[in-house]
């Protein structure tokens, strides 16, 4: 934000800054809005992922530990979920080579590893960040009716309602990716057009 405000003719004020993203970016939208109040005034989360607490089994951790660096380097997509999640949410500077928590004792995952993951879940974070969320001018949450994230995103909508956080909620005809491009034009930019100061 500081770089963009310094190098472009932005309206350098929260009232004129929106935050949005898709999938992992939708997750980031919700989480950054909670943690950095006063930077953005309206947010739009498209099919956000990773809302409920992540849990890995001892087997998943062991599988990851058994991978060679070459295998990790060659892995793609969902094969990287375990290492990516651990490095973002359960870092451990003293556990090379990946510097992430990989604790498994007697077939059980280290409870602290799981707690570190849970502490990054927006469903978990929400009750602790109500003032930050309620201070936003507008919140939009949306997901396709055929998206595998429908259940999690609906859950987030219900939690926002339960805690009285005003927001727009829409379930549209689509899957996780097929309408993103169109909806940026039809919904996302008009949403910010309506809510950001010009």
């Amino acid at each position: 934000v500081a770089y963009v405000d310094e190098h472009y003719r932005t309206i350098a004020d929260a009232d004129s800054r929106g935050l949005s993203g898709h999938s992992m970016g939708g997750y980031g939208t919700l989480k950054i809005a909670m943690k950095y109040p006063g930077v953005f005034s309206s947010i739009y989360a498209m099919a956000p992922c990773c809302l409920s607490p992540s849990n890995f089994t001892a087997e998943q951790i062991e599988q990851f530990k058994a991978m060679t660096p070459e295998q990790v380097a060659a892995a793609q997509g969902f094969a990287l979920v375990v290492p990516a999640t651990l490095s973002a949410w359960a870092p451990d500077p003293k556990n090379p080579p990946y510097y992430v928590s990989t604790g498994v004792t007697d077939g059980a995952v280290d409870p602290l590893l799981l707690a570190r993951l849970h502490a990054n879940s927006p469903l978990v974070l929400l009750p602790q960040y109500l003032p930050e969320m309620k201070a936003l001018e507008a919140i939009r949450l949306e997901v396709g009716d055929k998206d595998f994230l429908l259940r999690d995103d609906t859950w987030m909508h219900e939690e926002l309602e339960r805690f009285g956080v005003a927001h727009e909620w829409q379930v549209f005809d689509g899957d996780h990716g097929n309408r993103v491009n169109a909806r940026i034009r039809s919904d996302l930019l008009p949403f910010f057009g309506a809510h950001l100061d010009k």
Binding site: P53, P91, R116, H118, L125, P127, F163
Partner: protein, 342 residues
Amino acid sequence: MKALIATALLALVAVPAAAQNITAPPPPIPEGITVEEIKVPGASLIGNLEGNDVDRQVMVVLPPSYRTNPNKRYPVIYYLHGFAIDGKNFYNYMHVPEAVAHNAARGNEFIVVVPSTLTRMGGSMYSASATTGDFRSFIARDLVSYMDSHYRTIARRAGRGLAGHSMGGYGTWTIGMIYWDVFDALWAQSACCISPRGETVQSATAMAAVPYEGVDQSGFGMRAGLASMTAWSPNPQNPPFHADFPLKDGAVDPLVIAKWANNAPLAMVASHLPALDSFAAIGSDVGTRDGLIRDDTLIHEELERFGIEHVWQTYDGTHTDKIAQRFDEVVLPFFAEHLAKQ
């Protein structure tokens, strides 16, 4: 939490049967020390669902030169009490006026502020709860701005320290990490509730069986569990506790346990490193005969793992027997070393 129960029973102070809260006789007030008992309005607490007082009792202890030197400004130590005690009785037990006088005699003058966050459940847990009230914001925002506008404080980060004992030590860690830009130095004495709190079906069932009007009589440990629940898994739509119990359809509810973990300092460290790195100094201590030594050692090790500089001390003592002496001889001198004096 089991350790907390065990050590709390070692408290050397009287526990009246009716209120279940710890009391202590008024402390000596040395010559030159001024004590003011005030009420501070808590905008952050408005609308809490437990009916906890929005205006909070606060003890303010002013150093000797505060009266005689009307232009001088002072660093402020915010000092947080533990579970099942109010701010005034904690101030009594800690002999805060004497600690301020002794440190003034050593050349280190402070204002010490002891807010009361006793709630219907026996303690605020210094958390941000729609049910209990946002006590984190009350301390870091409402109380700090009240002090800065009503007393001659050094009204910037470098002039503010945060400390507390037991639940107050817990609050020191969590408020410190979340409102890192308000305080410049932290010291947690015998901090509780460091590790994520777990439950079994049996323990969760026992919690769910406590009637709302029977919380006061449910015992220290149960009360602390229920206070943690209303602080960490609030649910405005589930009266009378307005919280989610950790039990759902006969099993432990993982979302509730996850919400609690999110309030555990040990789980928070990894995601609050820039905040922890930004302090002038951090300190923590615990007695070797305190059951909390295991938990407090864990957060020391976690800070070490991430390279967060901090002071860590253990001493021959229990959860309560040396804490007043250490506030005087260790905690306030630590702040004297690290906070701005003008």
